[in-house]
């Protein structure tokens, strides 16, 4: 944001003043400091971004602005002033007036923030009523129009589950701004949204902040989101702000070692920084390794694949064809619901395919991937291994790490010794002593390493990585991607890499397939896809991606489709294995 507001309404010039704030969490007899001496100010119309890894205390600080503390937490020192009042000294009545009135919160998951059994119009009316504002139908519809939702008359009659994630988040924003707050607290507001929706929602928030002269505190782990929205960035670690500077300065010359580490960990950061107008970079930076394109029979060959969950449902994956060569990484990108995870699930044999050919032909193993797990040979099951998105739920909480790795060893190789488990743990960068631990005793990154170790234990030829870094902080994400790349090179693995994050894909994939609505619309070598020319859907995805360091929001249209599949179907071949599904303007 570039707006500067000089004639500020409050006497101090700051609508938010956090002064040397320290918060502790008490669990039993131990006292854990969560926030230690955090200070910052925000002027009206300005935005401060709070970045940090999970557990850094950034959400605790954000919620303190609304006088909200987690149960068991207490203020040890310092103060939080919003619009001139110390929020923790307010009476219960004044606290209620503060929440939603002076300061409003937009939470991460709008689906959970809205009451499922109430029409959204009624929820908006309630937001107005609770602050003693007029709440006629016209006022409610004006709010809906404010957040740029089409057709306010019919939207207000819907229930939250009848709205898309982006629409839900817009309603949540409408509720937050109902009482014209002076401060808007955004806690990971777009983490649950697709890139295209994310860009549109962020643009809305920025415009509203300027229009209503709100001070914004934006909490996010996504440096791209923060850099495009915030005027200043405060980097938090272990409850302390380690660096607090204007956005452009911070990205240009990070001072603190931790900030430098964070910036270095951004996926694709090793590549040349992309110009703001797109990804038309030199071909050299992403040229596929000559060895990788050497002609070899593909490990996986899919042709005209159709996958359907139930007979009466539309196909989740339709007419999908691709190949994966030995040692190659094929990335599949697309928004949620595009069918990319369904593809991964079918490759793992967890759901049957309806039609099309789907074959595996690896080193000494071949088989029909159209068969579900129960119909596959032991060797084929062994050759195809799955790494899950969420390592928290992919490890049995009651079994030790050693047992989790020993199980596939025993199943596929017949024996499982403690030494072998130790070796595998060492390969994924953990010490053998981890074998005795339970998943709850590990960090998110360590759990994902165990997830990879479990897949490796089988001795696979193809690894399916389904959004494996989505749940991880940016630094840990970089480590895991590096680990996967190293293992793939050392063991000669092929990989199907599923992701919604183009920046991640760009760093790891040899080839990219873009999926939407169950179909592949573009497939080609990574460098070629990022360089263009592209299918309009790919273009939209690329444009909406927020590069950390850019301070501009892309102009993205998320409401109306601009293309449709060409009537005749067919593909346009751009050479070098790069092809695009034919399309026409809608």
């Amino acid at each position: 944001m570039t707006t500067t507001v000089d004639d500020v309404p409050t006497t101090t010039g700051f609508v938010v003043r956090v002064n040397d704030l320290a918060i502790s969490y008490t669990a039993g007899r131990t006292d854990v400091p969560v926030v230690r001496g955090v200070s910052f100010d925000i002027r009206p119309g300005r935005a401060l971004g709070l970045v940090g890894e999970s557990g850094s205390g950034k959400s605790t600080v954000a919620r303190a602005l609304l006088a909200h503390l987690r149960r068991g937490s207490r203020i040890v020192a310092g103060s939080v002033e919003v619009a001139g009042d110390d929020v923790f000294a307010l009476s219960p009545v004044d606290t209620r007036a503060l929440r939603g009135g002076t300061a409003a919160l937009v939470a991460q998951n709008a689906g959970q923030a809205l009451t499922p059994s109430m029409r959204v119009g009624r929820q908006l009316r309630e937001a107005l009523e609770s602050h003693g504002l007029p709440s006629g139908d016209d006022r409610v519809q004006e709010l809906v129009r404010r957040v740029r939702l089409p057709d306010p008359e019919s939207i207000v009659l819907r229930y939250p589950h009848q709205l898309s994630g982006g629409q839900q988040q817009r309603i949540a924003i409408a509720m937050a701004i109902a009482a014209r707050p002076q401060v808007l607290v955004l806690d990971e507001p777009t983490t649950a949204l697709d890139v295209v929706t994310q860009a549109a929602v962020l643009e809305l928030i920025r415009d509203l902040a300027v229009e209503l002269e709100m001070a914004i505190l934006l909490v996010s782990h996504d440096l791209g989101v923060v850099s495009s929205m915030a005027d200043e960035i405060a980097v938090m670690r272990d409850g302390v702000v380690v660096e607090h500077r204007p956005t452009a300065d911070l990205f240009a010359t990070p001072e603190h070692a931790y900030t430098r580490e964070l910036l270095a960990a951004i996926p694709g950061a090793a590549l040349a920084p992309a110009p703001a107008d797109g990804f038309a970079e030199s071909a050299g930076s992403a040229e596929p390794d000559p060895a990788a394109v050497a002609p070899a029979p593909p490990v996986v060959q899919a042709d005209g694949l159709v996958i359907r969950y139930a007979r009466h449902l539309p196909a989740a994956v339709q007419d999908v064809s691709f190949t994966i060569a030995p040692r190659e990484t094929l990335a599949v990108v697309g928004e949620s619901g595009s069918g990319k995870s369904t593809l991964a699930t079918a490759l793992a044999g967890l759901i049957p395919t309806e039609s099309g050919t789907f074959r595996f032909a690896g080193d000494g193993v071949s088989g029909d991937l159209a068969e579900p797990v129960s119909g596959r040979s032991l060797d084929l099951r062994r050759a195809v291994q799955l790494v899950f998105q969420n390592a928290d739920t992919s490890l049995n909480p009651r079994r030790t790490v050693g047992a989790a790795i020993a199980r596939p060893l025993k199943l596929f190789t017949g024996t499982a010794s403690a030494e072998r488990v130790g070796e595998i743990l060492t390969e994924v960068g953990l010490s053998p002593s981890f074998a005795a631990r339970l998943p709850a005793q590990l960090s998110g990154g360590q759990r994902q390493r165990v997830g990879i170790a479990r897949a490796l234990a089988a001795g696979p030829q193809l690894v399916i990585a389904d959004e494996i870094t989505t749940a991880l902080d940016v630094r840990v994400q970089a480590e895991i991607l590096q680990l996967l790349a190293d293992l793939q090179r050392d063991k000669g693995l092929s990989c199907l890499f599923i992701s919604h994050d183009l920046a991640v894909v760009r760093g790891v994939a040899d080839r990219v397939a873009v999926m939407t609505g169950g179909r592949i619309v573009e497939i080609g070598p990574t460098g070629r896809v990022f360089a263009g020319p592209n299918h309009p859907y790919t273009r939209q995805l690329l444009d909406a991606t927020l590069e950390p360091g850019t301070t501009e929001l892309p102009d993205v249209q998320d409401a109306v489709a601009t293309w449709r599949d060409a009537a005749g179907g067919g593909w346009r071949d751009l050479g070098d294995g790069h092809s695009i599904r034919n399309w026409e303007d809608a």
């Binding site: 899950f388 992919s394 049995n396 488990v421």
Partner: protein, 297 residues
């Protein structure tokens, strides 16, 4: 195999011990509840030593006596020592409860986890049978069984099992269904593990917390149910010392020797309170909301 990578067995044992006692320190309710149960178990085990009188020997010269040095709680209308009968009555109640609860919960747990994972015609059939059994009032079913087959220990145990296993099945099935959606179950399926191996290795260990709470809760109901049966005259046969039976026998003499009725009631109440507190404490310590698990019936 993981043990080989461990430090010393002693530290491991200490760690495990600490793990087991953590909920106790966190929850006063659980400590009191388990304390009450332990007290009942100890008293029941040591009953012959403490009591000092044979619970079934009558003494016509000393009926309906108040508190004396030889009979601390007095005697009943047949001159039997009330303290001895209360202490020995606990043995029967605890034994039946332990057997019935264990069998009912074990059957319900395995059946619940298996049907949840099967999710096919087998699941349908089992759950419809469960529905049918749940629709029969438990006390009526028990009365019919006892009337037909006489009231032996095993008849009662098995009857209670048939009455309560369906409820446990339902609760465990619900818990197991949420476990099944977790990725570690998907991972096991993708490995090609056999269904029973998935049920016992991946699902059951993760519903054990629910099962534990369920156990404590069912036990308290079963204690009451068995006492009710005895009180109605369908449970233990006289002169067996049993709490329900004692209340029934002595309530006519309530004004003369109140201890004859009060003592078994207090014993029964403390046991039920102990079980309920344990169930509550366990569910809090293990993070299970009883209402959420559909266990409020």
């Amino acid at each position: 195999m993981t043990a080989a990578l461990q430090s010393s067995p002693l530290t491991r044992f200490r760690g495990r011990l600490r793990g087991w006692t953590t909920p106790l320190r966190a929850s006063t309710a659980l400590s009191i509840g388990l304390g009450l149960i332990a007290l009942h178990v100890v008293l029941a085990l040591l009953a012959p030593v403490i009591a000092g009188h044979d619970p079934v020997v009558t003494d016509s010269t000393n009926v309906l006596s108040g508190t004396t040095w030889s009979h601390w709680l007095g005697t009943d209308q047949y001159g039997r020592d009330i303290l001895s009968r209360v202490l020995n009555g606990g043995r029967y109640a605890l034994l039946v409860t332990f057997l019935a609860t264990t069998i009912a919960v074990a059957i319900g747990t395995v059946l619940g986890a298996v049907t949840a994972y099967a999710d096919n015609w087998f699941d349908e059939v089992v759950m419809r049978v469960v529905d049918a059994l749940l629709s029969v009032p438990s006390i009526l079913a028990l009365l019919v069984v006892v009337t037909v087959f006489d009231s032996g220990l095993w008849v009662i145990v098995l009857a209670v099992t048939v009455v309560y296993a369906p409820a446990v099945t339902r609760v465990v099935r619900g818990a197991a269904r949420t476990v099944i959606t977790q990725d570690y179950v998907t991972a096991a399926r993708a490995r090609g593990e056999k269904p029973l191996s998935i049920v016992f290795r991946e699902i059951l260990p993760n519903v054990l917390d629910v099962v534990l709470v369920e156990y404590a809760m069912r036990a308290s109901w079963i204690v009451l149910l068995i006492s009710t049966l005895s009180f109605l005259g369908f449970g233990a046969n006289p002169p067996t010392p049993d709490w329900g039976l004692m209340v029934q026998e002595n309530r006519t003499a309530l004004t003369v020797v109140p201890m004859g009725t009060l003592a078994p009631i207090v014993a029964l109440a403390t046991l039920v309170i102990g079980l309920n507190l344990s169930a509550d404490g366990l569910s809090k310590a293990l993070g299970i909301d009883r209402a959420q698990q559909g266990a409020t019936s």
